[in-house]
Symmetry: C2
Subunit: 218 residues, 2 copies
């Protein structure tokens, strides 16, 4: 028995539970997405701006994944939406089983959007299906425009790229056109948004797109 076999079994088991999650989301007409990024790219800030913008209008719940602490769940809870914190205790990614356990604490009936914020890690979460409709990868301009080429797995597996902290462009070494081009070279189908959680640039466009995903539900 090789390690490869063990890993494949772990992924197969994960995919099986992800399918159960996905079936639940579809049954209840919930648009669920999995937000991934490096630590500090601004996942939670985008979530806060999103809840400010459309949190009254749509029924949204949040699952927070963190290696340690419940800081993010506390930030989100201020917006009066259901939120469950998963602490992985050193684990580098969320798995479908952890999400399934968290779902037990959320009323799915009537829910329109479920946001799953993954652990900050641009590598490992790419390989784990949680049952989401899509992965949304957030990349901060401060990380540099070469990152899609250096960490291609995540950009290949995501459907949406949010380029965040565009207000910092004047101060950092990041060519926005090159970043966009590098990301689309890895995955030409990526839907790209450019946002700043400070100036709120791009937040309305992102939220309009989110609303369109809800109204497009069968």
């Amino acid at each position: 028995m090789s390690i490869i076999t063990i890993e494949r079994k772990v992924l197969e088991k994960n995919d099986e539970i992800a399918r159960q999650n996905r079936a639940d989301f579809q049954q209840h007409g919930i648009f669920a997405f999995n937000v991934v990024s490096s630590p500090g790219a601004g996942k939670t800030s985008i979530l806060e701006r999103t809840l400010e913008h459309i949190g009254q209008e749509l029924r949204i719940a949040v699952i927070e994944g963190d290696v340690q602490t419940d800081f993010d769940a506390r930030r989100v809870a201020r917006y009066k939406v259901p939120v469950v914190q998963i602490v992985t205790n050193g684990g580098c990614h969320l798995e479908a089983r952890l999400v399934r356990d968290a779902l037990a604490g959320i009323e799915l009936a009537g829910l329109e959007i479920l946001i799953i914020e993954n652990v900050g890690n641009l590598v490992c979460p790419a390989n784990y299906d949680l049952g989401e409709a899509m992965k949304v990868v957030v990349l901060s301009t401060t990380e540099g425009d070469d990152k899609p080429l250096k960490y291609p797995g995540m950009f290949l597996n995501a459907s949406v790229l949010i380029i965040n902290k565009i207000d910092l462009i004047p101060y950092v070494n990041c060519d926005l056109a090159a970043l966009r081009s590098n990301a689309l070279q890895i995955n030409p189908a990526l839907r790209v948004f450019e946002t700043s959680c400070t100036t709120l640039a791009g937040i309305p466009e992102w939220c309009d797109w989110l609303k369109s995903k809800v109204s497009a539900k069968p």
Copy 2:
């Protein structure tokens, strides 16, 4: 046979090879350190500024670890130091075996410093000993001051913290005193440097400390 057992065996095998690497470094009087951070925190930029500052004075070699591309090795090679690129092809951390293979391409005799730049990942590389004398964790101010508490493993296992991009402090939501205090709460023994690769603030202090590690060699 459980997965836990397999993982323990993988780590035991890694530690065994790490011991061989460490013995080689000690035999040749090489100060080897393992640079870890999130993607885009500035590992390679710090390396470039370090080579500019003391690359003529000390005999330095570099091992670059990346998920994909040889961009970083090409950046470092401009400084005319020996450099070997390891591409992990999706792997989220370096292992001692990969470093051992890379060492075959580096002349160890006469070398004073070996810098191993790990894959950009604030979680997984914390658990893998490469044979280094110490881990140096780089955290960018743009990532926010809460990161040591949210990703404690890396800060616990590191001996040095470089807080980078301090020139961006006026534009980002990061309290430098809080960052330092959070890091020292996790690991009171951390030696902390504050740097900017743009203004070069802190680079001389970091390089002086590096030189002291070389002169302290038996």
